[in-house]
Every structure is written in structure tokens, then in C-alpha cells.
Amino acid sequence: MRSICLLLGLLALFGQPLYAAQLAERVHEERLENGLTLLMLERRDAPTVSAYISFRVGGANEGAHNRGIAHLLEHMLFKGTKTLGTSDYAAEKPLLGQIESVGSRIDLLKNNPAADQAELETLRERLTELQQQHKEYVVKDEFSRIYAENGGVGFNAFTSKDQTTYLISLPANKLELWAAIESDRLQNAVLREFYTEREVVREERRRSYESNPGGMLYEALIANAYTVHPYRNPVIGWDSDIANLSLAEARDFFKRYYRPVNMVITLVGDFDSEKAKALVTKYFSAIPSGTPVPRVIDLEPAQRGEKRITVNFEAEPDLSIAFHKPAMPHQDDYSADLLTDILAGGATSRLYKRLVVEEQLASSVHIYGAPGSRYDNLLVIGATPRHPHTVAEVEAAIYAELDRLKSEPVSAQELQRARNRLVTDNLRQMRTNNGLARLLSSYAAIGSWRYLTDYAEKIEAVDASGLLAFANRYFSANNRTVAVLQREVK
């Protein structure tokens, strides 16, 4: 049986790059004069289009003074423009100025224990009053309404360490609506209802991190794995960061980075590329090109010993172990992908077999790259201990498997299986317009979408000795951070 499967696996590799080549031919890449990158892929199966706009900026581009701003700005960009979201911008504008002036005065005083509490109270009342007056001019969530009435779905945005992306899928006849709204948003955004939205983001933080054991462990792991690099900071910001972010910071970040030179538009679906290009040119070419987002220069010093942290939380025990490694497109990043699959990819993966099936120390294992993709990052292994087995037992078993990788080369069959699974997994993500647009947009924002078409060839070039070298280089105690979540031991 094994030999037959191996043969099929080899045939597969002759098949896959062919598709990759087709993909390379089908993507139309254009660059507008102002530096905007446009990717288009025509697919006529259904009369819809998925449209993504990614900016090459995210949490990693923040400092201590504005942690969380990339994400809060993303929220703020749903609040409308000078024409959308307002009944009369000219009348609204002075009120927005007063709100900002009172709001920033409150922010200045609220952290100062010596501040005049009566003044603070008066200011807060004044802010509420002004916000109440402002409501008269606000037309709530107009982007959302217009897109919805026109049949749009999945109108959303997300912020990561390296990029910020705005997305929507629309019936194919509404592509111009997208171009009109999005170009208006880029040129005329009005950051209204700021102080209320800041509270929304604090609720988001409570929900995803402070009340969620998985989120809390992840945040603690990343914050401790890095000492210097901004990857250590949560994209959402710490609570006191969010509570003190200012409108001025948001505006500055927007004006500085949301520029064509940092921007990738990706369209996948039922349209004509020539017409779509004309549309994008018409709506977006007036935007001044801007300057590229500067590269983060903070270099994480080599770790000189294991880091170990405990998170006390009202939940059953959980374990995460992170190892520093280079980011794509470094050769070692491809090795990490293969090892990811070999260790915890499928039912035959090494950690799953050992921890879950054979020794039954854990009820599940997982492995992933984090927290970003542009700068050197982490390979994270997590496992859920199965009672009465302890975190320590699980941890020891994981290290035993990692040690095996340092001395015994993986078999040819195991390696081939991992290659097949990685390449096929990429294919699966391309089945929908939305999935393909997301892939193209994300890779283009981080590096190049051609990463996708070269992928099979690159991982074909990694051999067993390369994986052995990777294991020896990175799976060391010196290079790891171990985070354990447990109930407090009283």
C-alpha cells in the first residue's frame, strides 16, 4: 500500500506546479502611476466579485505612544466621510472639534492623581452633552447600509501585525459602487464618534483576551517571547493603551500610511480586467502616492536562555511553547512549514500520534506560525493536557519528539506527504473568490503574491537534512518561551 501511495504522491507533484503556472498567468498585476498595486483575477462561475484593499501597515508599525492605533483606526474608518454618515458636514465639523478638545483634555487629566476631580467631572458632563448634540448630524453606519442594500456580504476589515485589510464581496454589477465608496473613504474619511468607539475596542479586548483563556495565553506567550521587537505588543493594544489613544494619533497614522504606495487592491470574480482597471484608475489615481511604510528596525536579540511564564486563570491547564525562527521568504521558513505538518498536521503527524493516540497525555495538539509574517517570528506548539496528566508530562513528551528530529532524518515518505498536504491545502483555500482574494492580497501585502505560485517548487527543494538542521538550530531550550495557563495555586 505504501509504495502505491508514494507513487501517487510523486505524480501529484508533476500536477501541482501546472496549476501554479496557470495561476501566475491568470493574475493581472498592474501598477498605477501613484504606486497603487492592483491584482485582478477573472473567474466567471458566479456573478460576484470579492474586493480586498490591503495596506502594508499594522501593529508592528506602532510605538509605545500609539500601541493599538492601527486597529482602532480600522474601526474608525467605518464611521463615514464628508458626505456619507452625516446630514450636514459643514455644521457637524465645529462640533467634532469641540468634542476632540474636551476629550483630549479629559485624557490629559484622567491619569493624573493630582488633577482637579471637579474639573474632570464637569468635562465629562460636557463631553456627554456634546456627543448628544453631535448625534443630530450622524447618519448611522451608512457604508454598511449602502453595501447591504446593494447585496454586499462580508463587509469587514482586519488588522494584523503587518497589514490592515478592508474587504467586501458584491454582486458583479456593483463594482463601481465599491470603487466610489472606498476611494471616498480614503480621501474624505471623518473619524467621528471616536470616544465611543474606543470603548467598543475595550469591550473587544475583554472578549477576545481578558475573558478567553486561549486569547489570554496567546497574548502572554507573545508578549514574553519578544524583548525588543514590536511583535511583542498585542495588535489590539493593552487596556491602558486603548483608553488613552488620541484622535490626533489616529489621523496621523491614517494620513501617513494609507497611501497608494503602501496599498494593494485585489479583485477576484466576474469582471473584465480592462474595465476594472479603468474603474480603479478613475477613482483612485487622484490620491497622492505617499511614502512607503518604513521598515521596523528593532532587532530582537538572540535569546539567551529559556523564558517561562505562568498565567493564572479560571480554566483547565493549557500549554504553549514558542521557538524563534526567521520569517518568509527565508529558506528556513519553508522548512518550518514542512515541520509544522510533520509534527501536528494530520492524524499521522508525530505529536498527534504520540501525545494523543499512543501516550494519551493530551486531548489535542496544534502548531502554527505567529505573530506576524514580515519579520522574524515564532513557531508555536500548543497542547491540551488530558487529566490527570500534567503540563510537565506533555511538555517532556513534546521535547522528546523535537529531539528525535535533531538526530534522525525524517523519512522520504513523511516528507513527501507533508509537501503534498501543504500544496493541496493552498489549493483548497482558492476554491472561492473570497478565499483566493484573501490569499493574493495578504501575500502581496507582505511580500509578493508570487510566493503562492513558487511555493510547491520551494518546498520541493527542502530535503531531510535541511529539516534536521532546522531542528538543531531552533528547537533548543535557549530559544524557547514556555507559557502555562492554570488555575491559581493558593
Binding site: 501511495c5 501517487l8 505524480l11 500536477g15 496549476y19 458566479a46 456573478p47 460576484t48 458626505t83 447618519v139 448611522k140 453606519d141 454598511s144 447600509r145 447591504a148 442594500e149 446593494n150 447585496g151 456580504v153 463587509f155 469587514n156 476589515a157 464581496s169 454582486p171 454589477n173 463601481e176 459602487l177 471616498d184 464618534e193 475595550r202 469591550e203 475583554r206 472578549r207 475573558s211 483563556p213 486569547g215 495588535v235 489590539i236 479560571e314 480554566a315 483547565e316 521558513d333 518550518a336 512549514d337 498536521g345 492524524a347 503527524s349 486531548s363 506560525g369 506576524g372 509574517s373 488530558r386 506527504r417 503534498n420 498536504r421 489549493l427 483548497r428 472561492t432 495578504s442 507582505i446
Partner: protein, 474 residues
């Protein structure tokens, strides 16, 4: 690095899913060409042994996906074996099949880069398999083995059982899970729709029970297959002839679920006191099933109330206007067989818990007391009608939808008439169904969070009896 999209790395704007100005140059004043849209065709055939087969060809990628659906499901689990269906699907997934041991089967699948996922729902078991075109014959043969001759390797059943027991231990880790489970138990009581597995009910299950379950439900005339991808009908027919040869129809199992108990008539509060800074609020009440004549009207009404994202009242008021939450929404679970629930959910800091409960109930009451505005009605209807085309963007969704519509005996013109029915809904209809179906005074209210930080005593504030939820380990 292959980019994975999961919540830990990405912070999305929303967790789930106005007035018009007459002004020049507004994006919504543009004119658009008509949308050309035809219902995609799904090939349907019934094999001699009763298997229903659906196919949607899609040759864009060299992949084939198959979903096998078998009538049965957790609604038929005996009370003392609650969790039977969960263990059963784990057994199908990991226990080997046909001539293959558990290990051989897993190895074959991984070598093919195939994905196998077996799951159970209230009324069906589902086996989903995605494979490369070149592996079709081998993959289909494995699928047939799993359907016809699962191995239920005793050692792997034990692994699965211990994993499920670990899940029971961990069920109080996540506030949303506590809230959902508590709400179902409060309304469905000891009916299968409200029961959850316990250590002892999982320990009660023997391998013979899994075999019996398989024998009862896994019959060709109780099975349908939805196929999409790089395969054409003639090839599929030949393949099915091979893998299902000699499998004869047999007596169909009884698929009538146990009747529901009497639904609670009075509201009540369940409090799970958990040391977290944010309260998960879940409101629920008995709802509807798919044959309810008001299904489409309720879709429109709920869009306005809490289903339409930023275009819904709950989101607009509680999140956008007040900044009291990140996520808030409501929905009617459309019961496929038995009626299910109306649910509204939100999370807010513990200190604003009762304020938000009050706002959610007030929005329900407002739907009853006042007609919705024409603008709200237009937004809801236009959105539901114009986004209808997205039901057809994914070949496999197209074909599995047809499979489910037939399995649950939806009217044959369900999809064809969907948009007309939405278009026919009026303001009066919306208010009528709000009055008929929403019961803001009789809600079951679940609160999971730091009780001592709530602004008021919930029982006193809401005038309802309070029960405390035990979060101790079993």
C-alpha cells in the same frame, strides 16, 4: 509561512455578521447595469439502492469534494448515553474501515493529502471528504468503507472517549459555551436538545452500541451524497456503481424525534458566577421550525432587530451609539424538524450587565410596540434579496444546500421563491410577527461573569426568579 486566518492573529471589525441624503456624487446615486443571474444546475440521480446523489461540476481546480449525509443524529441518543453520537463520529473518523486498520486508513488519507471530517448534528451524520482529482478512486473507496464497514477499533474508541471526557472537564472554560449550554438546558430540560454529555454517560457507551447505531442508520436508502469539483457525471456514475456494489436498501429507521417537553411560560435568570471582567449575556425563548408560515417575515424582522449587523437596532444602539459591546446580535434558529429557539447574545463589562440586558429587551419590545420605519424595511429586504446571489458562489455549498433542502423536505421551489417572499413582507407583517413571536417578558436570561460587579441584583432588577449555575468540576 502559510498564512492562517484565525482570530488570534486578526482583529476583525465584527465578530459575526439611516437615512439617505439626496446629494450629488454620492456613491449610492450611481446607476448600475442589471445583474445577470441564472440558478446553477445541480445534477440529481437516485441509485437503485436508494442513495440520492447530487453533483455540481467545477473544473477550476483539480479537487473533488464529497459530503455524505445519513439520517440519524444526536436527537436519538438515549438519555443514559448522552454523547453517543459524538463518540460514534469519532469512531468513524479514527477507528479504521473495511480492510484498513485505523493506522493504515489515516496513513492512506494523509498520503493523498485528503481531508476527512465526520460530524453529527441533531438529525444527521455527515462525512465530508476533500481530495485531489487524481486520488478520486482510492478516496471514494475509503469513503465507501467508512460508510459500509467502519472498524471502530476499540483502542481508538477509548482514546476518543477520554478526549470527550476531557471536553466535559473543560466545558466551563469558555463563557460563551457555558451560556449556550445553560440556555438550552433551561428551555429543553431533559429533552435531547437540552442534554449534554457527562463523564458517566460517556462511560456507559459500549462498542456494541456504536455498531448498533451504524447498523440502524447507515443504510443506502438513508444516505445522500453531494459531490462537487473536477469530475463529470459519467465518471461519477461508474465509480458509485463500483464502490456501492452489493449494498442493498433495507428497512428505514424511525426518524421521528422525541416530542418536546412543555416550554417554560415564565421568564427566569440563570447566573454563572465566573471570575472574568465581562459578562456573556444570552437571552432565549422558544421559537419556530422551518414549516412555520412566518419564516420569511421573521427573517426580515430579525434583520432589523439584531440580525443585520450594523444595520440592526441592537448593534446600532448597544455598540455603535453606547460603546457598551463589541458583539451583539439576535437570530431565530430555524428548527429543521422540531421548533428551536430565538436567541440574542451580547458581551459587556460586568458593571453594565443589567443596563445591556435592559436595552436588548427594550429593542425587542420596540419591535412589538411600534411599526418599523420604511427605510429599515427597505434596507432589510434589499439586503436579503440582493445578496441572494451569494448562495451560489461556492460549488460545494450549492450542492450540499440542495442535499439538505431535500433531506429536510423543504418545498421544491424554496430557493426559486425566496426573493419574492422577502419582497412581499410589509411593515404590518413585521409588527404582527414581532407581537406573535417575541416575548421580552418571558425570556430565559443567562449571565456569565463576575456577579459581584453587576450594577444591581438581577433578580430584583428584572423581577424574575434566579438560579445559580454550578461551575464546579464533575
Amino acid at each position: 509561512m502559510r498564512l492562517k486566518f484565525c482570530f488570534l492573529f486578526l482583529l476583525a471589525l465584527t465578530a459575526c455578521s439611516a437615512q439617505v441624503q439626496t446629494q450629488a456624487n454620492r456613491p449610492d446615486s450611481l446607476n448600475f447595469p442589471d445583474l445577470e443571474f441564472e440558478f446553477p444546475q445541480v445534477a440529481h440521480l437516485t441509485l437503485a439502492n436508494g442513495i440520492e446523489v447530487y453533483l455540481r461540476e467545477d473544473h477550476d481546480l483539480p479537487l473533488v469534494e464529497v459530503t455524505a449525509m445519513v439520517g440519524g443524529g444526536s436527537v436519538f441518543d438515549p438519555p443514559d448515553m448522552t454523547g453517543l453520537s459524538d463518540l460514534f463520529v469519532e469512531g468513524l473518523q479514527t477507528g479504521g474501515a473495511g480492510a484498513y486498520s485505523s493506522e493504515q486508513l489515516e496513513e492512506n488519507l494523509d498520503n493523498m493529502a485528503a481531508d476527512l471530517a465526520v460530524s453529527s448534528s441533531d438529525y444527521a451524520y455527515t462525512i465530508n471528504m476533500s481530495m485531489r482529482r487524481q486520488d478520486l478512486e482510492q478516496g471514494a473507496a475509503i469513503l465507501a468503507d467508512i460508510l459500509r464497514e467502519p472498524g471502530f477499533d476499540p483502542q481508538r474508541i477509548e482514546v476518543a472517549r477520554q478526549g470527550l471526557i476531557e471536553g466535559v472537564r473543560r466545558r466551563n472554560d469558555d463563557p460563551g459555551a457555558i451560556a449556550g449550554r445553560t440556555l438550552s438546558q433551561t428551555i429543553y430540560k431533559n429533552h435531547p436538545l437540552g442534554r449534554v454529555p457527562k463523564k458517566n454517560t460517556l462511560e456507559n457507551i459500549q462498542r456494541e452500541d456504536l455498531l448498533r447505531l451504524h447498523q440502524t442508520y447507515f443504510q443506502p436508502n438513508n444516505l445522500s451524497l453531494a459531490v462537487s469539483g473536477d469530475i463529470d457525471l459519467e465518471v461519477l456514475k461508474v465509480l458509485l456503481g463500483q464502490i456501492f456494489e452489493g449494498w442493498e436498501a433495507s428497512e428505514l429507521p424511525n426518524l421521528e424525534p422525541p416530542a418536546l417537553p412543555e416550554m417554560p411560560q415564565n421568564g427566569g435568570i440563570s447566573i454563572a458566577d465566573k471570575d472574568i471582567p465581562q459578562t456573556t449575556i444570552m437571552l432565549g425563548q422558544p421559537g419556530i421550525d422551518k414549516n412555520n408560515p412566518d419564516v420569511m417575515t421573521l427573517k426580515v424582522a430579525n434583520f432589523i432587530l439584531g440580525g443585520g449587523g450594523f444595520n440592526s437596532r441592537m448593534m446600532r444602539e448597544i455598540r455603535s451609539n453606547q460603546g457598551l459591546a463589541y458583539s451583539v446580535y439576535s437570530y431565530f434558529q430555524i428548527g429543521r424538524v422540531l421548533p428551536e429557539l430565538f436567541i440574542a447574545k451580547c458581551e459587556t463589562k460586568c458593571g453594565s450587565t443589567l443596563e445591556v440586558v435592559g436595552m436588548m429587551r427594550a429593542e425587542m419590545q420596540a419591535m412589538i410596540d411600534l411599526p418599523v420605519s420604511d427605510k429599515e424595511l427597505t434596507t432589510a429586504k434589499e439586503s436579503l434579496i440582493n445578496s441572494f446571489v451569494f448562495a451560489f458562489t461556492n460549488s460545494h455549498s450549492i450542492v450540499t444546500r440542495q442535499q439538505r433542502l431535500d433531506f429536510y423536505a423543504y418545498p421544491v421551489d424554496y430557493m426559486q421563491t425566496y426573493r419574492q417572499k422577502i419582497a412581499a413582507v410589509t411593515t404590518e407583517d413585521v409588527q404582527r410577527v414581532a407581537k406573535q413571536y417575541l416575548r421580552p417578558d418571558q425570556l430565559q436570561i443567562v449571565l456569565v461573569g463576575r456577579k459581584n460587579e453587576f450594577e444591581q441584583d438581577p433578580g430584583a432588577a428584572l423581577g424574575m426568579p434566579v438560579e445559580n449555575v454550578d461551575l464546579g468540576l464533575e
